[in-house]
Symmetry: C2
Subunit: 311 residues, 2 copies
Amino acid sequence: MPSYSERLIARVSQLNTSALVGLDPRWDQLPADVKEAAQSAGGSDAAVMASGFERFCCEIVDVVAPLVPAVKPQVAFFEQLGPAGFTALARVIRHARAAGLVVIADAKRGDIGSTATAYAGAWLAGEDSTAAPFGADALTVNAYLGDDSLRPFVDKAVQNSAGLYILVRTSNLGAATFQDRTSQDQKLFEAVADVVQQLNSSHWPDDVYGSIGAVVGATWPEELNSLRRRMPTTPFLVPGYGRQGGTAADVAGAFDSNGHGALVNSSRGINFAFQKEEYAEQFGPAGWRDAIEAATRQMIKDLRKHIPTGA
Amino acid sequence: MPSYSERLIARVSQLNTSALVGLDPRWDQLPADVKEAAQSAGGSDAAVMASGFERFCCEIVDVVAPLVPAVKPQVAFFEQLGPAGFTALARVIRHARAAGLVVIADAKRGDIGSTATAYAGAWLAGEDSTAAPFGADALTVNAYLGDDSLRPFVDKAVQNSAGLYILVRTSNLGAATFQDRTSQDQKLFEAVADVVQQLNSSHWPDDVYGSIGAVVGATWPEELNSLRRRMPTTPFLVPGYGRQGGTAADVAGAFDSNGHGALVNSSRGINFAFQKEEYAEQFGPAGWRDAIEAATRQMIKDLRKHIPTGA
Protein backbone atom coordinates (compact mmCIF):
# COMPACT_ATOMS: atom_id res chain seq x y z
CA MET A 1 0.00 0.00 0.00
CA PRO A 2 1.53 3.35 -1.00
CA SER A 3 2.04 5.74 1.92
CA TYR A 4 0.17 9.05 2.22
CA SER A 5 3.24 10.93 1.02
CA GLU A 6 3.64 8.63 -1.97
CA ARG A 7 0.02 9.17 -2.95
CA LEU A 8 0.36 12.94 -2.51
CA ILE A 9 3.62 13.16 -4.48
CA ALA A 10 2.05 11.23 -7.34
CA ARG A 11 -0.72 13.85 -7.59
CA VAL A 12 1.75 16.74 -7.26
CA SER A 13 3.95 15.31 -10.01
CA GLN A 14 1.01 14.64 -12.29
CA LEU A 15 -0.35 18.19 -12.02
CA ASN A 16 3.04 19.82 -11.60
CA THR A 17 1.93 22.04 -8.73
CA SER A 18 1.89 22.06 -4.94
CA ALA A 19 -1.02 24.49 -4.67
CA LEU A 20 -3.49 23.53 -1.94
CA VAL A 21 -6.96 25.08 -2.00
CA GLY A 22 -8.54 25.71 1.39
CA LEU A 23 -12.32 25.37 1.69
CA ASP A 24 -13.40 28.15 4.09
CA PRO A 25 -17.10 28.79 3.49
CA ARG A 26 -18.60 31.93 5.06
CA TRP A 27 -22.32 32.51 4.65
CA ASP A 28 -22.11 36.29 4.22
CA GLN A 29 -19.65 35.90 1.37
CA LEU A 30 -21.33 33.11 -0.61
CA PRO A 31 -22.32 33.92 -4.21
CA ALA A 32 -25.89 35.26 -4.41
CA ASP A 33 -27.17 32.32 -6.46
CA VAL A 34 -25.78 29.79 -3.97
CA LYS A 35 -27.46 31.61 -1.08
CA GLU A 36 -30.76 31.81 -2.94
CA ALA A 37 -30.77 28.13 -3.85
CA ALA A 38 -30.05 27.19 -0.22
CA GLN A 39 -32.78 29.48 1.08
CA SER A 40 -35.37 28.28 -1.39
CA ALA A 41 -34.90 24.71 -0.15
CA GLY A 42 -36.02 25.89 3.31
CA GLY A 43 -35.31 24.44 6.74
CA SER A 44 -33.66 25.79 9.87
CA ASP A 45 -31.03 28.53 9.61
CA ALA A 46 -28.33 25.91 10.20
CA ALA A 47 -29.78 23.61 7.52
CA VAL A 48 -29.96 26.46 5.00
CA MET A 49 -26.39 27.55 5.68
CA ALA A 50 -25.10 23.97 5.64
CA SER A 51 -26.77 23.40 2.29
CA GLY A 52 -25.11 26.57 0.95
CA PHE A 53 -21.71 25.51 2.31
CA GLU A 54 -22.03 22.07 0.77
CA ARG A 55 -23.03 23.35 -2.66
CA PHE A 56 -20.36 26.09 -2.68
CA CYS A 57 -17.54 23.76 -1.60
CA CYS A 58 -18.57 20.99 -4.00
CA GLU A 59 -18.56 23.52 -6.84
CA ILE A 60 -15.08 24.71 -5.82
CA VAL A 61 -13.99 21.06 -5.81
CA ASP A 62 -15.32 20.60 -9.35
CA VAL A 63 -13.42 23.68 -10.54
CA VAL A 64 -10.08 22.90 -8.88
CA ALA A 65 -9.92 19.08 -9.09
CA PRO A 66 -8.27 19.12 -12.55
CA LEU A 67 -5.79 21.80 -11.42
CA VAL A 68 -4.48 21.09 -7.91
CA PRO A 69 -3.54 17.95 -5.97
CA ALA A 70 -5.39 18.64 -2.72
CA VAL A 71 -8.01 20.61 -0.81
CA LYS A 72 -8.13 21.56 2.87
CA PRO A 73 -11.60 22.00 4.37
CA GLN A 74 -11.53 24.21 7.47
CA VAL A 75 -13.59 22.16 9.92
CA ALA A 76 -14.48 25.08 12.22
CA PHE A 77 -16.68 26.74 9.61
CA PHE A 78 -18.79 23.59 9.32
CA GLU A 79 -18.69 22.90 13.05
CA GLN A 80 -20.23 26.31 13.83
CA LEU A 81 -23.43 25.08 12.12
CA GLY A 82 -23.76 22.11 14.46
CA PRO A 83 -24.69 18.58 13.27
CA ALA A 84 -26.00 19.91 9.92
CA GLY A 85 -22.58 21.39 9.25
CA PHE A 86 -20.88 18.05 9.87
CA THR A 87 -23.28 16.30 7.51
CA ALA A 88 -22.37 18.85 4.83
CA LEU A 89 -18.65 18.48 5.58
CA ALA A 90 -18.75 14.68 5.28
CA ARG A 91 -20.42 15.08 1.86
CA VAL A 92 -17.90 17.69 0.70
CA ILE A 93 -15.02 15.39 1.68
CA ARG A 94 -16.66 12.46 -0.13
CA HIS A 95 -17.18 14.60 -3.23
CA ALA A 96 -13.55 15.74 -3.20
CA ARG A 97 -12.23 12.21 -2.77
CA ALA A 98 -14.42 11.00 -5.63
CA ALA A 99 -12.93 13.78 -7.78
CA GLY A 100 -9.47 12.38 -7.06
CA LEU A 101 -8.37 15.12 -4.68
CA VAL A 102 -6.26 14.50 -1.59
CA VAL A 103 -8.25 15.86 1.37
CA ILE A 104 -6.57 17.38 4.41
CA ALA A 105 -9.09 18.01 7.22
CA ASP A 106 -7.95 21.15 9.03
CA ALA A 107 -9.37 20.35 12.46
CA LYS A 108 -6.32 20.90 14.71
CA ARG A 109 -7.34 18.07 17.01
CA GLY A 110 -5.23 16.84 19.90
CA ASP A 111 -5.80 14.69 22.98
CA ILE A 112 -4.37 11.68 24.78
CA GLY A 113 -4.85 7.92 24.81
CA SER A 114 -8.19 6.51 23.79
CA THR A 115 -9.54 10.03 23.17
CA ALA A 116 -6.83 10.68 20.59
CA THR A 117 -7.62 7.28 19.08
CA ALA A 118 -11.25 8.38 18.72
CA TYR A 119 -10.25 11.59 16.91
CA ALA A 120 -7.95 9.62 14.61
CA GLY A 121 -10.80 7.20 13.89
CA ALA A 122 -13.13 10.09 13.04
CA TRP A 123 -10.89 11.60 10.36
CA LEU A 124 -8.01 9.41 9.17
CA ALA A 125 -9.64 7.30 6.48
CA GLY A 126 -6.40 7.39 4.50
CA GLU A 127 -6.29 5.48 1.22
CA ASP A 128 -9.77 3.96 1.57
CA SER A 129 -12.06 6.98 1.90
CA THR A 130 -14.79 4.86 3.51
CA ALA A 131 -12.55 3.85 6.44
CA ALA A 132 -13.65 6.82 8.61
CA PRO A 133 -16.91 8.80 8.87
CA PHE A 134 -15.09 11.94 7.74
CA GLY A 135 -13.11 10.28 4.97
CA ALA A 136 -10.00 12.47 4.88
CA ASP A 137 -6.50 11.55 3.72
CA ALA A 138 -4.84 13.64 6.41
CA LEU A 139 -5.56 15.70 9.54
CA THR A 140 -3.94 18.70 11.23
CA VAL A 141 -2.95 17.96 14.84
CA ASN A 142 -1.90 20.04 17.87
CA ALA A 143 0.95 18.49 19.91
CA TYR A 144 0.82 20.68 23.07
CA LEU A 145 -0.24 17.67 25.14
CA GLY A 146 3.07 15.92 24.48
CA ASP A 147 4.84 13.37 22.32
CA ASP A 148 2.71 10.50 23.66
CA SER A 149 -0.43 12.32 22.51
CA LEU A 150 0.73 11.88 18.90
CA ARG A 151 1.08 8.10 19.10
CA PRO A 152 -2.59 7.14 18.45
CA PHE A 153 -2.69 9.49 15.45
CA VAL A 154 0.58 8.09 14.07
CA ASP A 155 -0.61 4.50 14.58
CA LYS A 156 -3.78 5.21 12.59
CA ALA A 157 -1.79 7.02 9.88
CA VAL A 158 0.49 4.01 9.49
CA GLN A 159 -2.44 1.58 9.53
CA ASN A 160 -4.58 3.42 6.95
CA SER A 161 -1.92 5.02 4.75
CA ALA A 162 -3.07 8.41 6.04
CA GLY A 163 -1.14 11.59 6.85
CA LEU A 164 -0.81 14.09 9.68
CA TYR A 165 0.28 17.70 9.77
CA ILE A 166 1.48 18.66 13.24
CA LEU A 167 1.31 22.36 14.15
CA VAL A 168 4.93 23.47 14.39
CA ARG A 169 5.14 27.20 13.59
CA THR A 170 1.79 28.85 12.91
CA SER A 171 1.25 31.90 10.71
CA ASN A 172 -0.35 34.29 13.25
CA LEU A 173 1.42 37.21 14.91
CA GLY A 174 0.94 35.76 18.41
CA ALA A 175 2.61 32.47 17.39
CA ALA A 176 5.75 33.75 19.10
CA THR A 177 4.15 33.83 22.58
CA PHE A 178 4.70 30.15 23.22
CA GLN A 179 6.25 28.66 20.06
CA ASP A 180 9.37 30.88 20.21
CA ARG A 181 10.19 30.24 23.86
CA THR A 182 13.81 29.10 24.02
CA SER A 183 15.08 26.32 26.25
CA GLN A 184 18.74 25.32 25.97
CA ASP A 185 19.14 27.14 22.63
CA GLN A 186 16.14 25.36 21.18
CA LYS A 187 12.81 27.03 20.56
CA LEU A 188 9.62 25.17 21.43
CA PHE A 189 8.63 24.86 17.78
CA GLU A 190 12.05 23.35 17.06
CA ALA A 191 11.47 20.77 19.80
CA VAL A 192 8.13 19.90 18.22
CA ALA A 193 9.86 19.75 14.82
CA ASP A 194 12.43 17.27 16.15
CA VAL A 195 9.71 14.98 17.49
CA VAL A 196 7.95 15.08 14.09
CA GLN A 197 11.13 14.41 12.10
CA GLN A 198 11.97 11.52 14.44
CA LEU A 199 8.56 9.97 13.71
CA ASN A 200 9.26 10.12 9.98
CA SER A 201 12.79 8.75 10.38
CA SER A 202 11.58 5.79 12.41
CA HIS A 203 8.41 4.91 10.46
CA TRP A 204 9.54 5.71 6.89
CA PRO A 205 13.35 5.38 7.13
CA ASP A 206 13.86 4.67 3.43
CA ASP A 207 11.41 7.17 1.93
CA VAL A 208 12.14 10.64 0.54
CA TYR A 209 9.26 11.90 2.71
CA GLY A 210 7.41 10.34 5.61
CA SER A 211 3.70 10.89 6.21
CA ILE A 212 3.86 12.98 9.40
CA GLY A 213 3.89 16.55 8.14
CA ALA A 214 4.45 19.92 9.76
CA VAL A 215 2.38 23.10 9.57
CA VAL A 216 4.80 25.99 9.03
CA GLY A 217 3.46 29.47 8.29
CA ALA A 218 4.54 31.26 5.12
CA THR A 219 4.73 34.45 7.15
CA TRP A 220 8.03 33.27 8.69
CA PRO A 221 10.32 32.54 5.69
CA GLU A 222 13.51 32.30 7.77
CA GLU A 223 12.01 29.66 10.03
CA LEU A 224 10.68 27.87 6.96
CA ASN A 225 14.20 27.56 5.55
CA SER A 226 15.79 26.44 8.80
CA LEU A 227 12.94 24.00 9.50
CA ARG A 228 13.39 22.44 6.07
CA ARG A 229 17.02 21.69 7.01
CA ARG A 230 15.95 20.46 10.44
CA MET A 231 13.20 18.18 9.09
CA PRO A 232 14.65 16.77 5.87
CA THR A 233 12.01 14.07 5.27
CA THR A 234 8.96 15.85 6.72
CA PRO A 235 6.31 17.13 4.28
CA PHE A 236 5.19 20.70 5.01
CA LEU A 237 1.80 22.36 4.89
CA VAL A 238 2.35 26.09 4.45
CA PRO A 239 -0.56 28.41 5.25
CA GLY A 240 -0.39 32.19 5.02
CA TYR A 241 0.21 32.53 1.28
CA GLY A 242 -1.79 35.40 -0.20
CA ARG A 243 -4.19 36.97 2.27
CA GLN A 244 -1.90 36.49 5.27
CA GLY A 245 1.03 38.23 3.53
CA GLY A 246 3.29 35.33 2.48
CA THR A 247 4.54 35.32 -1.13
CA ALA A 248 5.68 32.56 -3.49
CA ALA A 249 9.28 33.66 -2.92
CA ASP A 250 8.75 33.30 0.84
CA VAL A 251 7.71 29.65 0.52
CA ALA A 252 10.40 28.51 -1.94
CA GLY A 253 12.66 27.31 0.88
CA ALA A 254 10.18 24.59 1.82
CA PHE A 255 10.79 22.71 -1.45
CA ASP A 256 13.46 20.34 -2.70
CA SER A 257 15.02 20.51 -6.19
CA ASN A 258 12.26 18.24 -7.54
CA GLY A 259 9.58 20.70 -6.42
CA HIS A 260 8.44 18.34 -3.68
CA GLY A 261 8.24 18.63 0.09
CA ALA A 262 5.40 21.07 0.71
CA LEU A 263 1.87 22.15 -0.09
CA VAL A 264 1.13 25.87 -0.16
CA ASN A 265 -2.38 26.79 0.92
CA SER A 266 -4.64 29.61 -0.18
CA SER A 267 -8.22 29.73 1.09
CA ARG A 268 -10.04 33.05 0.99
CA GLY A 269 -7.99 34.36 -1.94
CA ILE A 270 -9.42 31.56 -4.07
CA ASN A 271 -12.83 30.86 -2.48
CA PHE A 272 -13.86 34.51 -2.70
CA ALA A 273 -11.83 35.54 -5.74
CA PHE A 274 -15.06 36.73 -7.38
CA GLN A 275 -15.21 39.56 -4.83
CA LYS A 276 -11.79 40.90 -5.81
CA GLU A 277 -11.98 43.93 -8.08
CA GLU A 278 -9.82 42.38 -10.84
CA TYR A 279 -12.03 39.30 -11.18
CA ALA A 280 -15.36 40.99 -10.39
CA GLU A 281 -14.92 43.30 -13.38
CA GLN A 282 -13.88 40.49 -15.70
CA PHE A 283 -16.43 37.83 -14.78
CA GLY A 284 -19.35 39.61 -13.06
CA PRO A 285 -21.31 38.23 -10.08
CA ALA A 286 -22.54 35.11 -11.93
CA GLY A 287 -19.01 34.24 -13.03
CA TRP A 288 -17.77 33.21 -9.58
CA ARG A 289 -16.67 29.76 -10.79
CA ASP A 290 -14.55 31.40 -13.51
CA ALA A 291 -13.05 33.73 -10.91
CA ILE A 292 -12.15 30.76 -8.69
CA GLU A 293 -10.53 29.02 -11.65
CA ALA A 294 -8.62 32.14 -12.69
CA ALA A 295 -7.36 32.74 -9.14
CA THR A 296 -6.26 29.09 -8.86
CA ARG A 297 -4.41 29.24 -12.18
CA GLN A 298 -2.82 32.53 -11.11
CA MET A 299 -1.60 30.95 -7.84
CA ILE A 300 -0.17 27.94 -9.70
CA LYS A 301 1.65 30.26 -12.11
CA ASP A 302 2.98 32.39 -9.27
CA LEU A 303 4.29 29.33 -7.38
CA ARG A 304 5.97 27.97 -10.53
CA LYS A 305 8.01 31.16 -10.83
CA HIS A 306 9.72 30.54 -7.51
CA ILE A 307 9.52 26.81 -6.85
CA PRO A 308 11.55 24.20 -8.75
CA THR A 309 9.37 21.92 -10.83
CA GLY A 310 9.95 18.25 -11.41
CA ALA A 311 9.75 18.83 -15.17
CA MET B 1 -25.94 38.72 33.81
CA PRO B 2 -24.01 36.43 36.20
CA SER B 3 -20.66 35.25 34.85
CA TYR B 4 -19.90 31.60 34.10
CA SER B 5 -17.96 31.30 37.34
CA GLU B 6 -20.78 32.83 39.35
CA ARG B 7 -23.26 30.37 37.83
CA LEU B 8 -20.91 27.46 38.49
CA ILE B 9 -20.16 28.49 42.08
CA ALA B 10 -23.88 28.78 42.81
CA ARG B 11 -24.35 25.12 41.73
CA VAL B 12 -21.25 23.98 43.64
CA SER B 13 -22.47 25.73 46.81
CA GLN B 14 -25.98 24.36 46.47
CA LEU B 15 -24.83 20.74 46.11
CA ASN B 16 -21.78 21.14 48.31
CA THR B 17 -19.47 19.31 45.92
CA SER B 18 -17.03 20.04 43.10
CA ALA B 19 -17.34 16.60 41.53
CA LEU B 20 -17.51 16.73 37.73
CA VAL B 21 -18.80 13.69 35.85
CA GLY B 22 -17.24 13.06 32.46
CA LEU B 23 -19.38 11.52 29.73
CA ASP B 24 -17.08 9.14 27.83
CA PRO B 25 -19.29 6.62 26.01
CA ARG B 26 -17.60 3.53 24.53
CA TRP B 27 -19.72 1.13 22.55
CA ASP B 28 -18.00 -2.04 23.77
CA GLN B 29 -18.60 -1.07 27.38
CA LEU B 30 -22.25 0.05 27.20
CA PRO B 31 -24.73 -1.87 29.38
CA ALA B 32 -26.25 -4.79 27.48
CA ASP B 33 -29.81 -3.38 27.60
CA VAL B 34 -28.64 -0.04 26.14
CA LYS B 35 -26.86 -1.82 23.29
CA GLU B 36 -29.88 -4.02 22.58
CA ALA B 37 -32.30 -1.09 22.51
CA ALA B 38 -30.01 0.78 20.10
CA GLN B 39 -29.61 -2.24 17.84
CA SER B 40 -33.31 -3.01 17.74
CA ALA B 41 -34.02 0.50 16.41
CA GLY B 42 -31.84 -0.35 13.39
CA GLY B 43 -29.96 1.92 11.00
CA SER B 44 -26.31 2.22 10.03
CA ASP B 45 -23.58 1.17 12.47
CA ALA B 46 -22.94 4.84 13.26
CA ALA B 47 -26.64 5.52 13.82
CA VAL B 48 -26.95 2.51 16.14
CA MET B 49 -23.91 3.49 18.18
CA ALA B 50 -24.97 7.15 18.31
CA SER B 51 -28.36 6.12 19.58
CA GLY B 52 -26.70 4.00 22.28
CA PHE B 53 -24.36 6.85 23.27
CA GLU B 54 -27.26 9.29 23.50
CA ARG B 55 -29.40 7.01 25.63
CA PHE B 56 -26.52 6.02 27.93
CA CYS B 57 -25.34 9.61 28.47
CA CYS B 58 -28.86 10.95 29.01
CA GLU B 59 -29.43 8.25 31.63
CA ILE B 60 -26.16 9.17 33.36
CA VAL B 61 -27.33 12.80 33.31
CA ASP B 62 -30.60 11.81 34.98
CA VAL B 63 -28.73 9.92 37.70
CA VAL B 64 -26.11 12.58 38.47
CA ALA B 65 -28.06 15.83 37.96
CA PRO B 66 -29.31 15.92 41.59
CA LEU B 67 -25.80 15.13 42.90
CA VAL B 68 -23.13 17.08 41.00
CA PRO B 69 -22.90 20.60 39.54
CA ALA B 70 -21.55 19.75 36.10
CA VAL B 71 -20.85 17.18 33.40
CA LYS B 72 -18.08 17.06 30.79
CA PRO B 73 -18.92 15.26 27.54
CA GLN B 74 -15.78 14.06 25.73
CA VAL B 75 -16.42 15.26 22.19
CA ALA B 76 -14.00 12.83 20.52
CA PHE B 77 -16.14 9.80 21.36
CA PHE B 78 -19.12 11.35 19.59
CA GLU B 79 -16.99 12.73 16.75
CA GLN B 80 -15.70 9.25 15.88
CA LEU B 81 -19.27 8.36 14.84
CA GLY B 82 -19.44 11.19 12.31
CA PRO B 83 -22.50 13.45 11.85
CA ALA B 84 -24.76 11.02 13.75
CA GLY B 85 -22.46 11.32 16.74
CA PHE B 86 -22.74 15.10 16.71
CA THR B 87 -26.54 14.91 16.56
CA ALA B 88 -26.44 12.67 19.63
CA LEU B 89 -24.00 14.98 21.40
CA ALA B 90 -26.15 18.07 20.79
CA ARG B 91 -29.10 16.21 22.32
CA VAL B 92 -27.08 15.01 25.32
CA ILE B 93 -25.93 18.58 25.99
CA ARG B 94 -29.50 19.88 25.68
CA HIS B 95 -30.75 17.19 28.06
CA ALA B 96 -28.04 18.03 30.60
CA ARG B 97 -28.75 21.76 30.44
CA ALA B 98 -32.48 21.11 30.88
CA ALA B 99 -31.60 19.06 33.97
CA GLY B 100 -29.83 22.12 35.42
CA LEU B 101 -26.29 20.84 34.92
CA VAL B 102 -23.38 23.04 33.87
CA VAL B 103 -21.96 21.50 30.67
CA ILE B 104 -18.27 21.66 29.82
CA ALA B 105 -17.60 20.45 26.26
CA ASP B 106 -14.21 18.74 26.28
CA ALA B 107 -13.23 19.40 22.67
CA LYS B 108 -9.73 20.91 23.10
CA ARG B 109 -10.25 23.27 20.17
CA GLY B 110 -7.78 25.93 19.16
CA ASP B 111 -7.21 28.09 16.08
CA ILE B 112 -6.72 31.71 15.06
CA GLY B 113 -8.84 34.66 13.96
CA SER B 114 -12.15 33.96 12.27
CA THR B 115 -11.57 30.20 12.58
CA ALA B 116 -11.34 30.47 16.36
CA THR B 117 -14.47 32.64 16.27
CA ALA B 118 -16.26 29.83 14.42
CA TYR B 119 -15.24 27.25 17.06
CA ALA B 120 -16.37 29.60 19.84
CA GLY B 121 -19.69 30.07 18.04
CA ALA B 122 -20.15 26.31 17.76
CA TRP B 123 -19.83 25.60 21.48
CA LEU B 124 -20.01 28.64 23.77
CA ALA B 125 -23.74 29.08 24.28
CA GLY B 126 -23.10 30.21 27.85
CA GLU B 127 -26.08 31.20 29.94
CA ASP B 128 -28.64 30.82 27.14
CA SER B 129 -28.26 27.20 26.03
CA THR B 130 -29.86 27.96 22.66
CA ALA B 131 -27.17 30.52 21.74
CA ALA B 132 -24.95 27.91 20.03
CA PRO B 133 -25.67 24.67 18.13
CA PHE B 134 -23.78 22.69 20.79
CA GLY B 135 -25.25 24.52 23.76
CA ALA B 136 -22.41 24.20 26.28
CA ASP B 137 -21.57 26.48 29.20
CA ALA B 138 -17.84 26.09 28.69
CA LEU B 139 -15.21 24.62 26.35
CA THR B 140 -11.68 23.24 26.76
CA VAL B 141 -9.16 25.09 24.57
CA ASN B 142 -5.56 24.48 23.43
CA ALA B 143 -3.36 27.61 23.45
CA TYR B 144 -0.31 26.35 21.48
CA LEU B 145 -1.10 28.78 18.66
CA GLY B 146 -0.45 31.77 20.92
CA ASP B 147 -2.10 34.37 23.13
CA ASP B 148 -3.90 35.99 20.18
CA SER B 149 -5.56 32.66 19.40
CA LEU B 150 -7.44 32.87 22.71
CA ARG B 151 -9.00 36.27 22.04
CA PRO B 152 -12.02 35.12 19.95
CA PHE B 153 -12.84 32.49 22.59
CA VAL B 154 -12.52 35.03 25.41
CA ASP B 155 -14.67 37.56 23.55
CA LYS B 156 -17.44 34.99 23.12
CA ALA B 157 -17.12 33.89 26.78
CA VAL B 158 -17.55 37.50 27.93
CA GLN B 159 -20.43 38.08 25.51
CA ASN B 160 -22.42 34.94 26.41
CA SER B 161 -21.49 34.47 30.07
CA ALA B 162 -19.65 31.31 29.06
CA GLY B 163 -16.43 29.76 30.34
CA LEU B 164 -13.17 28.37 28.98
CA TYR B 165 -10.67 25.89 30.35
CA ILE B 166 -7.26 26.38 28.75
CA LEU B 167 -4.93 23.35 28.72
CA VAL B 168 -2.12 24.27 31.11
CA ARG B 169 -0.67 21.05 32.58
CA THR B 170 -2.22 17.88 31.25
CA SER B 171 -2.45 14.58 33.14
CA ASN B 172 -0.54 12.30 30.73
CA LEU B 173 3.01 11.06 31.23
CA GLY B 174 4.25 12.75 28.05
CA ALA B 175 2.94 16.14 29.20
CA ALA B 176 6.51 16.98 30.24
CA THR B 177 7.85 16.81 26.65
CA PHE B 178 6.76 20.31 25.78
CA GLN B 179 4.87 21.71 28.81
CA ASP B 180 7.88 21.42 31.16
CA ARG B 181 10.40 23.10 28.87
CA THR B 182 12.04 25.89 30.87
CA SER B 183 12.82 29.31 29.46
CA GLN B 184 14.28 31.93 31.82
CA ASP B 185 13.27 29.93 34.90
CA GLN B 186 9.71 29.63 33.69
CA LYS B 187 8.19 26.45 32.34
CA LEU B 188 5.99 26.59 29.26
CA PHE B 189 2.89 25.63 31.25
CA GLU B 190 3.67 28.46 33.68
CA ALA B 191 3.82 30.90 30.77
CA VAL B 192 0.42 29.66 29.59
CA ALA B 193 -0.83 29.95 33.19
CA ASP B 194 0.29 33.59 33.36
CA VAL B 195 -1.58 34.45 30.16
CA VAL B 196 -4.73 32.80 31.56
CA GLN B 197 -4.51 34.52 34.94
CA GLN B 198 -3.95 37.87 33.19
CA LEU B 199 -7.17 37.33 31.19
CA ASN B 200 -9.10 36.80 34.44
CA SER B 201 -7.46 39.80 36.13
CA SER B 202 -8.33 42.10 33.25
CA HIS B 203 -11.87 40.86 32.48
CA TRP B 204 -13.10 40.01 36.00
CA PRO B 205 -10.90 42.25 38.20
CA ASP B 206 -13.35 42.36 41.13
CA ASP B 207 -14.49 38.72 41.17
CA VAL B 208 -13.23 35.88 43.36
CA TYR B 209 -12.89 33.81 40.16
CA GLY B 210 -12.87 34.81 36.52
CA SER B 211 -14.36 32.62 33.78
CA ILE B 212 -11.18 31.58 31.96
CA GLY B 213 -10.19 28.34 33.65
CA ALA B 214 -7.16 26.09 33.49
CA VAL B 215 -6.91 22.33 32.94
CA VAL B 216 -4.40 21.00 35.48
CA GLY B 217 -3.92 17.26 35.87
CA ALA B 218 -4.45 15.64 39.28
CA THR B 219 -1.44 13.46 38.52
CA TRP B 220 0.87 16.39 39.27
CA PRO B 221 -0.08 17.53 42.83
CA GLU B 222 2.98 19.75 43.28
CA GLU B 223 2.26 21.69 40.12
CA LEU B 224 -1.36 21.91 41.16
CA ASN B 225 -0.39 23.63 44.41
CA SER B 226 2.06 26.04 42.81
CA LEU B 227 -0.35 26.82 39.96
CA ARG B 228 -3.08 27.66 42.48
CA ARG B 229 -0.74 30.30 43.97
CA ARG B 230 0.25 31.50 40.50
CA MET B 231 -3.37 31.77 39.26
CA PRO B 232 -5.29 33.04 42.28
CA THR B 233 -8.55 33.88 40.48
CA THR B 234 -8.50 31.14 37.81
CA PRO B 235 -10.98 28.25 38.15
CA PHE B 236 -9.39 24.83 37.61
CA LEU B 237 -10.60 21.72 35.86
CA VAL B 238 -8.72 18.76 37.29
CA PRO B 239 -8.73 15.53 35.28
CA GLY B 240 -6.91 12.38 36.33
CA TYR B 241 -8.80 11.63 39.56
CA GLY B 242 -9.46 7.91 39.96
CA ARG B 243 -8.49 5.91 36.91
CA GLN B 244 -5.48 8.05 36.05
CA GLY B 245 -4.05 7.71 39.58
CA GLY B 246 -4.85 11.06 41.22
CA THR B 247 -6.44 10.95 44.68
CA ALA B 248 -8.67 13.35 46.59
CA ALA B 249 -5.67 14.33 48.73
CA ASP B 250 -3.74 15.15 45.54
CA VAL B 251 -6.36 17.64 44.35
CA ALA B 252 -6.95 19.43 47.67
CA GLY B 253 -4.42 22.14 46.80
CA ALA B 254 -6.61 23.39 43.97
CA PHE B 255 -9.30 24.62 46.39
CA ASP B 256 -9.75 27.68 48.56
CA SER B 257 -10.98 27.62 52.16
CA ASN B 258 -14.59 27.88 50.94
CA GLY B 259 -14.20 24.73 48.88
CA HIS B 260 -14.28 26.69 45.64
CA GLY B 261 -11.82 27.09 42.79
CA ALA B 262 -11.85 23.76 41.00
CA LEU B 263 -13.89 20.94 39.54
CA VAL B 264 -12.51 17.41 39.86
CA ASN B 265 -13.39 15.11 36.99
CA SER B 266 -14.02 11.39 36.90
CA SER B 267 -15.22 9.76 33.69
CA ARG B 268 -14.66 6.03 33.28
CA GLY B 269 -14.73 5.36 37.03
CA ILE B 270 -18.32 6.58 37.10
CA ASN B 271 -19.63 5.78 33.59
CA PHE B 272 -18.55 2.16 33.82
CA ALA B 273 -18.81 1.68 37.59
CA PHE B 274 -21.15 -1.27 36.97
CA GLN B 275 -18.18 -3.21 35.56
CA LYS B 276 -16.17 -2.82 38.76
CA GLU B 277 -16.22 -5.92 40.94
CA GLU B 278 -17.51 -4.11 44.04
CA TYR B 279 -20.55 -2.68 42.24
CA ALA B 280 -21.15 -5.61 39.85
CA GLU B 281 -21.66 -7.92 42.80
CA GLN B 282 -23.94 -5.51 44.62
CA PHE B 283 -26.17 -4.36 41.75
CA GLY B 284 -25.86 -6.96 38.97
CA PRO B 285 -25.78 -6.14 35.23
CA ALA B 286 -29.24 -4.55 35.16
CA GLY B 287 -28.33 -2.27 38.06
CA TRP B 288 -25.91 -0.08 36.12
CA ARG B 289 -27.77 3.12 37.02
CA ASP B 290 -27.46 2.24 40.70
CA ALA B 291 -23.75 1.55 40.26
CA ILE B 292 -23.28 4.95 38.59
CA GLU B 293 -25.12 6.63 41.45
CA ALA B 294 -23.12 4.74 44.09
CA ALA B 295 -19.80 5.59 42.42
CA THR B 296 -20.80 9.25 42.16
CA ARG B 297 -21.78 9.38 45.84
CA GLN B 298 -18.53 7.62 46.73
CA MET B 299 -16.50 10.22 44.80
CA ILE B 300 -18.37 13.09 46.47
CA LYS B 301 -17.72 11.55 49.89
CA ASP B 302 -14.04 11.00 49.08
CA LEU B 303 -13.59 14.61 47.91
CA ARG B 304 -15.32 15.97 51.05
CA LYS B 305 -12.74 14.21 53.23
CA HIS B 306 -9.94 16.26 51.75
CA ILE B 307 -11.47 19.44 50.39
CA PRO B 308 -12.82 22.26 52.56
CA THR B 309 -16.57 22.68 52.23
CA GLY B 310 -18.43 25.95 52.33
CA ALA B 311 -20.62 24.63 55.14
